[in-house]
C-alpha cells in the first residue's frame, strides 16, 4: 500500500510535466487545427533557458550573485517569457507564411516536425554534446506523510500544474481573449468580421502554450537536473499522445490525459519489469482511443449549414 501511494505521488509529478506540455499542444490545435510537433522541443528550450537564466543570476558564479530564492523568483517569469518568444517566432517565420499561402495543413505539420528537429540539432551544434546541470534553486526538504516521502519540489511541481490549469481555464472561459480563442476554434473565417485581428489571437495562443511549456521545462530541469538536446523529443511525443487521449482541443483533456498516462507508466514500472512500461502505457491508450476515437473529453465536430 505504501509503495502504491509513493508511486501515486511520483505519478502526480510526472503527470504534471505531461499536462504542462499537453496543454500547449491542445491550445494550438484548438485554435489552428495544427499539431505543433515542435512543441516538445519548446519544452527543451524552456529547460535550457532556465539553466542560462538561473546560472546568470545565481551566486557565486553568476554575474549578479543573487540568492537562490531571488534567482528562482526571477527565473520562472523570465523562462516563461523567453520560451514564449521562441514559440511565437516559430509561428511567425515558419507556420504563418505557409498558412497565408494556403498550404495544406499536412505541410504545416511537417514544417513543425522539422522546426523541432532544427531546435534539437541547433542546440547540439551550438552547445555541443556536453550536458548541462541546472543548479539547485530550492532548498530540498523531504516530508514524511504516513511513511511516504514527499519532497517540497514534487509538491511545487504538482501545485504549479494545478495552478496553471485553473489559470488557463479562467483565461479561456472568462476573458475576452479566451472567448476569441474559443470562437476561432469553431470558425476562423468569421473572426475578422467581428473586428478582431486573427493574428493576435494566434500569437496569444502560442504565447500561452509556449510559456507553459517553458515552465514545464524549468520544473523538469529542477527535478531531473541533467539537460540534453533530445530531452523534449520523447516526453513531447508522450504529452502529445496524452492530449489526444484526453481529447485534443480540450484543456481538461490535456490535463486528465497527462495524469492518466503518467499513472499507467509509473504503475507499470513499479509492479512489472520496467521494460514493459511504454508497451503497456501505449496499449492502454490505444484501447481508450479505440473506444473513444475523439478522446475522453473530445466531441466530434458537427457544423450546421
Amino acid at each position: 500500500m505504501e509503495i502504491f501511494l509513493q508511486q501515486c505521488v511520483n505519478a502526480l509529478q510526472w503527470g504534471s510535466f505531461y499536462a504542462l506540455i499537453a496543454l500547449g499542444y491542445t491550445l494550438v490545435y484548438g485554435v489552428l487545427r495544427l499539431i505543433n510537433f515542435a512543441h516538445g522541443d519548446i519544452f527543451m528550450v524552456g529547460a535550457y533557458l532556465a539553466f542560462y537564466i538561473s546560472t546568470a543570476f545565481l551566486a557565486p558564479e553568476g554575474l549578479f550573485g543573487f540568492s537562490r530564492g531571488l534567482t528562482l523568483a526571477l527565473t520562472i517569469p523570465l523562462t516563461m517569457i523567453f520560451t514564449s518568444l521562441v514559440g511565437v517566432t516559430l509561428e511567425r517565420i515558419a507556420y504563418r507564411p505557409l498558412m497565408r499561402k494556403g498550404a495544406h495543413r499536412l505541410y504545416v505539420v511537417i514544417t513543425a516536425l522539422m522546426c523541432g528537429l532544427v531546435l534539437e540539432n541547433g542546440n547540439l551544434a551550438l552547445l555541443g554534446a556536453s550536458r548541462k546541470t541546472l543548479p539547485a534553486l530550492l532548498d530540498k526538504s523531504v516530508y514524511d506523510v504516513g511513511g511516504i516521502a514527499v519532497t517540497n519540489l514534487k509538491l511545487w511541481v504538482i501545485f504549479a500544474a494545478v495552478l496553471v490549469f485553473f489559470a488557463l481555464h479562467f483565461v479561456v472561459t472568462k476573458t475576452r481573449m479566451g472567448m476569441a480563442m474559443r470562437a476561432v476554434s469553431w470558425n476562423k473565417f468569421a473572426l475578422p468580421l467581428m473586428g478582431i485581428p486573427l493574428d493576435s489571437v494566434i500569437v496569444f495562443t502560442f504565447v500561452l502554450g509556449s510559456g507553459i511549456a517553458g515552465l514545464g521545462g524549468m520544473l523538469f530541469a529542477m527535478s531531473y537536473p541533467v539537460l540534453e538536446p533530445y530531452m523534449g523529443a520523447m516526453t513531447g511525443w508522450k504529452a502529445f499522445i496524452a492530449a489526444v487521449v484526453g481529447g485534443i482541443g480540450d484543456i481538461r483533456g490535456a490535463f486528465v490525459g497527462g495524469f492518466l498516462l503518467a499513472f499507467v507508466e509509473v504503475m507499470v514500472a513499479a509492479f512489472l519489469p520496467s521494460t514493459f512500461r511504454d508497451l503497456f502505457a501505449f496499449s492502454i491508450l490505444l484501447l481508450i482511443l479505440w473506444q473513444r476515437p475523439t478522446g475522453i473529453f473530445g466531441r466530434p465536430l458537427i457544423s450546421k449549414i
Binding site: 469553431w186 467581428m194 457544423s303
Partner: protein, 240 residues
C-alpha cells in the same frame, strides 16, 4: 459617395473570378447584387471586406474606395473596427461553441468600455427569439435563429455599412420576409446595406438599386423597379 468599386478584378489563385466590375453605393442605400450561382456575388463581398486568401479572393486589379480612400491595403478586422463595415457571410458562420450572448459580446470585442449589455438588449428587442435562447449554445439554434444571430452579431460591431450574403438561404418563407422587413427598418434608421441574393425578386423588392452579375461581369444595372420590369431580367432571374 460611400463606396466606389472601379474595374475590380479578383482571383482565387490563378483563376480570375471577377473580370473588372464597377459599381457604387451611396450612404443610406440598399443595393443588391443578383445573379446565378458562380456569378461572382460572394467573391465581390469578400473582396470588399478584404478577407484573406485562400478562402477569399485576392484583388488583382482595379480599386475599392471607401469615402474616397482606397482600402485595398487594409486588413479585414480594420475595415470592421475602423470603417464600420461588416459582412453577414453565406452560411452564417456563427460561433456554434459559444452561447448566443457570447456571440454578441464577441462582436463588441473592440469596444470594451461601452455599455454592451444595453446593446445586447436592443438586439433582443429586434429578435425576441434570441432572447429566449440567450444562454444556449448557438449551434442548437434553428437555421432561422442562426440567421438572426448572424445579423444581430454584425450589428453589435456598430456597423454603418452591412453586407449580407444570401440572407434568405435555407429560411422558411415567413422568416425570410421577417428578415427582409427587419433589414428595411434598419435601413430606415440609416444603415447602408449591400445584399447579395439568389432570390432576385425578393432582393429587388427591398432594394433601391441593383446590379446583375454574370460570370464575373456586371451585365445590367439600374433602379430596382426598372430591373424588375426589364424583360430579359424577368426571364432569366425572376422566373419569367
Amino acid at each position: 459617395m460611400m463606396l466606389r468599386v472601379s474595374n475590380l478584378k479578383a482571383a482565387y489563385g490563378k483563376i480570375e473570378a471577377l473580370h473588372g466590375i464597377s459599381f457604387h453605393v451611396e450612404k443610406g442605400e440598399i443595393v443588391t447584387l443578383i445573379g446565378a450561382n458562380g456569378a461572382g456575388k460572394s467573391t465581390t463581398l469578400k473582396a470588399l471586406m478584404r478577407l484573406p486568401p485562400p478562402e477569399s479572393p485576392s484583388v488583382t486589379g482595379g480599386d475599392i474606395e471607401f469615402d474616397g480612400v482606397s482600402i485595398l491595403g487594409m486588413e479585414a478586422h480594420r475595415i470592421v473596427s475602423g470603417l464600420k463595415m461588416t459582412l453577414v457571410p453565406e452560411g452564417r458562420h456563427i460561433f456554434g461553441n459559444l452561447t448566443v450572448v457570447e456571440n454578441l459580446q464577441l462582436a463588441a470585442w473592440t469596444r470594451k468600455n461601452e455599455n454592451i449589455g444595453r446593446e445586447i438588449h436592443h438586439i433582443f428587442d429586434m429578435f425576441p427569439r434570441l432572447a429566449e435562447r440567450a444562454r444556449q449554445r448557438s449551434d442548437t439554434l434553428s437555421g432561422g435563429e442562426q440567421q438572426m444571430l448572424a445579423v444581430g452579431r454584425a450589428l453589435m460591431t456598430k456597423c454603418s455599412v452591412l453586407l449580407l450574403d444570401e440572407p434568405s438561404m435555407g429560411l422558411a418563407p415567413l422568416i425570410m420576409y421577417d428578415m427582409f422587413r427587419t433589414l428595411k427598418r434598419l435601413n430606415a434608421d440609416g444603415l447602408t446595406i449591400i445584399v447579395v441574393e439568389q432570390n432576385a425578386l425578393l432582393a429587388l423588392q427591398v432594394a433601391d438599386r441593383g446590379y446583375v452579375l454574370d460570370t464575373g461581369e456586371i451585365v445590367a444595372e439600374g433602379p430596382a423597379e426598372d430591373l424588375l420590369r426589364t424583360p430579359e431580367i424577368k426571364a432569366v432571374y425572376l422566373g419569367g
